[in-house]
Point group: D2
Chain length 427, copies 4
């Protein structure tokens, strides 16, 4: 039994928190035309009636619109945070006000509370799980296998989560179907590339008051997030350096015109380092030892293990907060290395961080919403394991978005369809 | 029986043609470090000994290095062109000089000769086919099914060819295994994006002496080729307009910052139109009727059906060659619409065209070479049908290229490998 | 006589304010290698000994390093804000602690206090004025002409200030020499282009949580600031639209690949509007009437007159703060127009604004510093009127910066110098 | 007395040359809306009646439209080439057919003929000179000072020419007024940046069949031409490296995100080198010695002295034409260095070169045309020496161009004009 209380029982002034939470959600909803369209449909059709949804997400204004939309679709929802620093208490409180929603998300919760809150969500006995880092999936499989029988399916938002779900699936250890929402073109291109790229850079700039022009920006990893960070940094006139472990990605970065080199070499010339690999120990002791004075270190990958802070603390002779959101480690030789947002996901964990841009999450949560609907309506079609999001769902979201932005596009004529389907043509 | 003679029997001055062909091949080989590396390996190991390879390719200097490499690997090779306008006779003659190679490719061959040449190649009774537009596969399946039994497998280079092979495969009509070389990350990103993009624009610029800055460049289709053309045109300060039929691609172009609109609307504002769809009738009568005076029309897709020249000729009151490689159609109201390279693949068919850049083909043909080797060594692993290129082959080429360009990259530590393979982590 | 008190007399807890101010200045100084170099020189040489410097600037951490540097050079300095919303009280208090500095800058000062503070600065009877918007020059010329005799000269930082000083000069109304610091290549390119561009966009993004990708961003004016905003917005994958009144600038934007159109037309399609003209009434009633729901309106020009807020308030049926730093005006038909930072200079006046990036101001203030030194050492060489910054000073700063960034460059050989100076060459 | 005959007396088949020349000029005129507009005005007004114009220009289709326009304005024109390799004989012959024009330009003329042709032009006793490299100005001042009295003035097209004219002016040696057409915003930005950038890269690509993506492209000099080459190369995904001798330009390139380093260092890593300095010996022995095998060397500056070919020939153990337009120098250690177009202006002198894009020259020659008109109408206003082009002429051309491209822009209201002219505003 979860013993962690809902946010409304934890705040001193719940009413004013809720008011501020609603104001934040108003702003988000105003710039989320996809979710607005889907919410209208859900209100009318109640496709999720009778479902119980357990969610572990970054609880802030945009995610709240997803939570609200699922509740408006008829589901009972319990939600908690997926990162102790990313929750907005006011938004959590506003959600908790909804008759169909209980929110346990609380900023700054300690480790014990974090896992208790997950337990509290699980008390709902979810039929659907929605994850941003597979917390719900893991908790159910590891600690509550008895619930698996009644779970219809799940949705996973992150690259890292999907990566691990696939590993679990390969081990034969994943016992219900999960949509790899992260892997859709909609999610990867728009969320990872544009969302992570833009918001990480803006957060770093507004946390440090420093500029990009002429800087050597080292991007650790050239997956979708790394591509986004590199592209947007180059768009601010940084000199981009990429590190990679996969030869084809390294070559892709090289052909894009970026410098590609091992981290050991990049460490000597970089001014700003941004990790996006999803792996641990991307930047370690050997790198800290050769870095220039005043460098910035930030992480745009899921966990705070990419920049090895233990190594850094070991090397440091002094530490201080140089600025809100900037922790300075002073080396024996006087060099100062500045870590942004404790090496956690920078666009979510920095003091001024706002997470991904609203419109980007609109797309991403649009896919989530129709994936939940699909799981409810056609769950029997999906075996236990990781599933790609069906193309038609992804296209449905793209069409809603284009329509909202007033963008028209062509359609194939019958002759063209016939031509594309045929293979009997000459030169 | 093929009655079409080798190129050496068709030229007046074979010797000087061969000399010029070799000079062209020297230049190509000098800038093809991947093929140089593979050729050294093939010379040493003779992995293709005993094979007979039938090829229909654009026969110019770069492809010639592939043909030569396969021959050096021990195979007997017969080759013909895959487009009547893309053959360089001198290169064809230089190839034909090689003891293991017979080349039937001849520039400007008529329709009858084109198909006779294919027949002559088939006389070799190929064990391997290498196609740039599935000519060999089609000829064997349609006209020489008796050969299928001895065919080990094939390789297909183009988007269009792979598309059709898949359609054929779905119809149960593809009777031997074919590698979809086009679909590898190496091929798609580097050949389609960088190769098609750069060479199409440079060819148009040098055919017309016109500039890109400030021009409305309409790109028909936002697949890999379309992305390349759009990216490179924007990089020359054009104002890029994209037309699409797939909503996710349309949205991707929109989020990139390009204008997206239906062709009917783009037709009114475009200065240059470049089609890359692989489909027919992308630009037709209704579009010609509203275009501005002096527009350029070019095609970067495989076949010459994207710009409907029949429609254009019907509308025209006069035609002339405004310039080498530029055919001008004069409309009744005096507007002049200029078609580059007869609407054929512009970077291959324009008078000054040189095809894809050498380095790009080096990568693409590197994949082809190791795919042929794989088919010979492990052909029994592949059933009849279209096959993805195995990742390891693709990575092999990427590593050779990075090494040749002096680019170093990182590798995963054991701890990192373990971390990426595991799914039991907390926050 | 100025009656406005120094900041230290206005704050409740001066000590903690000073501590925070010093922490902010430490961060700035750490990323200002040019100022660090110059400060070392000034401490050693005391080139400003005996001077009295009156300044009206945006008083925050970076400017504080300039103020401090001038004081360290031996001058007595009095400083006040040049914009009621741009002062950081803690930094102001930290400056006021310096024995050679009196700071009157206070955030949120009212109109009366604003001008009284200028009077208090003038009580110092400045020999040098340093302006960011010609407040000091105007006050001395209009209200204290008796001081002109003892003024050695001035420096002006902004485009707008220089523009007006030139108008004043043409009217024969400028009675002492002023360096147009704004007009140097160093200032225009780095401060206006990179500084205004990057910081305006990051401030808007972090104030609204919205993204740039795929947005129609209308940039009012294509001077240096407009070029910067356009370039950086395009670098974030916005679709940039430029409005201009000067045909050559309009053409320059057109040739860059941007859409150029009148504001009346841009108003209908824009998602975000950013004015950079230095003029008034760039966006007015006729434009508000046709804008889309949810647009953002921001100003990156000096004064808050570019977006006509009176017109907007007249049209609005309701107003509210949609978000910190975002004021929403609701139109009769339900459309909501969102004004960022009250239409004031967005990268200075928004709640989270930090002003220009540190490194950019390092360059700009480096030029200011050596210009003040030049005025002291060689003031007699400059007549009353606006003066270009001597090339050698500008180059001095560039060399200090390149050296600090570890960038080496070439120098001309004697033969090359001779060649460039000669005009007697054939083909 | 000039003894060099007009082109029509030098060709075997003048008629067919003229026909081809006219076809080339038709194409150019079709894409030169500015010149078309001005030519209509000149035909109507005959503003140049009675003038004799001596020109030394690159005689190809676009320049021919300028020559023709001046003749249509009523002037008698004599023209010769300004570079032995840039003349198109057919265009020269077509011009020579015009009753008001005599053309002496001949491709491949030897040194003696080159100067004799200039003498033949001078026989016309020009009242106006129009230069692309100050050949006419130099010849008149050095060899025919007696003509100076009757010269009204001149126009100079190139950066290099203007540079030398200024040196001459400073020596008191320039005896009639010359417009520095090169220095106008119209010329510098569009011709130098867009024209040189695009055409140099396209020419190199189509001469070598090589690509830009992932290449280290070293740009010698970061003036307007260098900026253009760097910008367009980066736009093709090259990794741009800039060398400079002026610290502010070096810093500008650094802040743009390019690598900046001395040529001695760049020489070791560059794949392609493009010089744009206007100076000599930018690349010399010490650089050739460390270059990689297979590098390309090209020049986009006026004279062929930037890449020191004497040094290169001294080092070479063998030379050959690797390709049309590519001369290969083999070093003792086997490395091959490839010089494009003999180190001459690559976009004019390569075998396939077409010079600047048509539209760019349209702008540049538009300025030339109205400058010649201004010199005739108001020549007495200009003293001997170098003169900036009056702003109004430059704006006239910009407005014609915007109008032709269908681009509308705003104009200042009276209130706005008043505001910009005033200096008495508060905050």
């Amino acid at each position: 039994m979860g013993t962690y209380p809902p946010i409304s029982e934890q705040l001193d002034d719940v009413e004013s928190a809720r008011a501020e939470g609603h104001r934040k959600m108003d702003w988000a909803r105003q710039h989320m035309p996809i979710m607005t369209t889907i919410q209208e449909e859900f209100v009318a059709d109640k496709p999720l009636e009778g479902q119980r949804i357990g969610m572990a997400m970054h609880v802030e204004a945009k995610t709240a619109v997803l939570v609200e939309t699922l509740a408006e679709g008829g589901a009972e929802v319990a939600v908690t945070g997926c990162n102790p620093l990313s929750t907005h208490d006011d938004v959590s409180a506003a959600l908790d006000e909804h008759p169909n929603i209980t929110s346990y998300a609380k900023r700054g919760v300690d480790d014990e509370g974090y896992y208790e809150a997950i337990e509290s969500v699980i008390d709902l006995e979810p039929t659907i799980t929605v994850d941003d880092g597979m917390d719900m999936v893991a908790a159910i499989h590891e600690d509550h296998p008895e619930l698996i029988e009644t779970v219809v399916g799940g949705c996973e938002e992150t690259t890292t989560g999907v990566h691990r779900l696939r590993a679990m699936d390969e081990d034969g250890a994943l016992d219900y179907p999960v949509f790899a929402v992260n892997d859709t073109p909609m999610k990867r291109l728009f969320d990872n590339v544009h969302g992570t790229g833009e918001s990480s850079l803006a957060t770093i700039a507004m946390t440090t008051n420093l500029s990009w022009a002429g800087k050597n920006v080292v991007v650790g990893g050239y997956g979708y997030c790394g591509k986004g960070v590199a592209k947007k940094a180059a768009g601010q006139n940084a000199n981009v350096i990429v590190t990679e472990v996969e030869p084809r990605r390294a070559l892709e970065a090289h052909m894009e015109g970026y410098d590609v080199m091992p981290m050991a070499e990049a460490a000597e010339v970089g001014d700003v380092f941004i990790t996006t690999t999803g792996n641990r120990d991307v930047i370690t002791k050997e790198h800290f030892e050769v870095m220039k004075d005043g460098v910035l270190l930030a992480n745009a990958g899921h966990f705070d293990v990419e920049v090895n802070l233990n190594d850094l603390a070991d090397l440091a002779v002094a530490e201080r907060d140089a600025r809100d959101g900037v922790h300075e480690y002073e080396m024996e030789d006087g060099r100062r290395l500045n870590v942004i947002a404790e090496g956690r996901l920078v666009n979510l964990a920095a003091p001024i961080a706002l997470g991904h841009p609203v419109e980007v999450m609109d797309q991403s949560f649009g896919v989530q919403s129709v994936c939940v609907r699909e799981m409810v309506e056609n769950g029997e079609k999906y075996d236990a394991g990781v599933h790609e999001v069906p193309d038609e769902l992804d296209k449905e979201i793209a069409e809603i978005k284009l329509d909202a932005d007033g963008v028209e596009f062509d359609s194939l004529s019958d002759d063209q369809k016939e031509y594309m389907g045929s293979w009997q043509h000459g030169t």
